[in-house]
Amino acid sequence: MTVSPPLAPLTPSADRLTWRTALRRLVPANRKARVGLAIIGVYVLVAAVGPWIVQSLMGLSPTELTGDVLQSPSGAHPLGTTQDGSDVLAQLVVGTRTSLLVGALAAVVSTTLSVAVGLIGGYYGGTVDSVLGALTNAFLVLPGLPLVIVLAGYLRGRGGPFAVALVIGLTGWAWGARSKRVQTLSLRGRDFVVGARLLGESNLRIMLVEVLPNLLPVISATLMLSLVTSILAVSGLDFLGIGDLNSVSWGTMLYFAQQRQAMVAGAWWWFVPPGVAITVLGAAAGLVNFGIDELTNPRLRGAGGKAAKTRKPRKKGVR
């Protein structure tokens, strides 16, 4: 299609990342990624100490049934109350903890699986790669949500929210595995890997010490992405009423709001906050993902608004 001289590798050269340099690089020099990480940090903080503040300091309960039914936001209830008289702010904050924990578990499960499959397939190549690749592609094209819905349909809340997290983690690894395989494939022939092999290092050691740190940017991107997709999936299941309805999460909040006709009653304070919480978290992960794309692909870097002017790649001069 085109005739052009071989390209320089798109990943930053001086290629080799050790664990230390890789970790340092994880605190991104990229503004978008930083903003995204900061927002996620706020969520983690809310999940960690929020329930204690809301319940112990402010005396609000996410589950207590009171006579204050469907009240709009006020001093006593900053985000109003539900049909049952429970406090929406307390539900939102406790739901943040549930949703984050469930999403994190699912993300860790799926990312671990994807790293294992991608790294092993990409490193060994040959038959191992073909088999793992076929399996990955099969799970990639099989629609995830129907599978999760069927499994959750049988579980019906048994095993609590973590069973659902496990199901989502076990079904959602394929996308990450593919990007990790591609990256490993491109690393396999680099000098430092070949060198390590010639020195007689074991395959396991080469994979863990030489290859894995170089995958870190891709891994963290997958982790963020699967955190968000997992939270979305869990919320979707909860919203449909096939997750664990006894737990307080963003999804169950929306489920009950829908069931109790909050929309018809105009109780926006009930169903807007959980949706906004999910969306903002998703956008934060999107920013991180965006920033990491820019880090791994230097050509995207020019797009960063003001910062771009000082760091414009040379090619931009053409225009």
Binding site: L7, A138, L140, P143, V218, N297, G302, A303
Partner: protein, 358 residues
Amino acid sequence: MTATTLPVGEAQPSQPSDTAGAVRRRRGGRARVLLRRVGFYLGTAAVAITLNFVIPRLMPGDPASVILNKLAQQSQVTPATEKSIRALFGVPDEGLWQQYLHYLAQLAHGDLGVSIAYFPQPVSEMIGSGLPWTLGLVSLTTVLAFLLGTGIGIVSGARPGSRFDSVTAPLATFLGSMPYFWVATMLLLLLSVTVPVFPSQNGYDLGLDPGFTPAFIGSVIEHGFLPAVTIIVSSVGGWLLGMRNMMITTVAEDYVTLAEAKGLSRRRVLLAYAARNAMLPQIAGLAISIGTVVGGSLLAEAVFAYPGVGYLFYQAVVNLDYPLMQALFLTISLSVLLANFIADSVYVLLDPRTREDA
């Protein structure tokens, strides 16, 4: 969302070497690659069929007996029904391999059992009536979201950092982060409850007779509008970001510089040189995104009580209608695989690289 990450893997295109040998290899390569894809999709279909077999048998207890008991509460269960439910959901005292063969034979006859919630109705009939709705909704919205996202992505990626780009890129990130069911709920609230412009449920005005009459078609469009907007709003961001990022990469390529140097119009450089190549990962992404869009459509349909397979699926799960649920899982998976196969084959025809190194 998925399309966003595509450049990570695909951003290092191995430049094709246009030698005579490569050209010769390509000719035979195309058929071989397509054949391999057929093999892969048949294998994946086998995985889906096997999953459908394994899942009910992994579950604690004996789902088949539970289903038969429920059916018996409603009316007499005929031996034929009992046989089909057993074949689909498990026979406790039979070897797994034996069960698998019976199950396959059952599927080969197209018998997917009867619904519990709508008792004497065979699930295959129910799915048959829901499938056209979902098919129409998903295919239309996928095409629209793809065109819209890719189009804006071209403009946005051609001048990264421009005012247009600095509005659309964050907006796309934001839109892509909104969960389908929440977008659906908000649209329902704004345009159906608060300002009643659009109907809140069903696929058409139930007072009308289905048929190719203007009134009926109008009613279908009116009812499908909000579900369609939901899917487009939630999926357009991924296309936009994917295309934008690929455009930025492609615009910096030497052949684009050459085209500019030749004095070609900017429009031609962007569309025929840059966008044409940047489009390939998008088309590869099309195959993969179908599954995600179908998933989103399931949620949107549940919110709008749209009469497609998604709403059926929702009802099946809520009513513990396991035969319907399993059959829907199988149908949806196989349909998505078929759609994938088509999109994939188009990709093989378009991208010469896949013919060489696959």
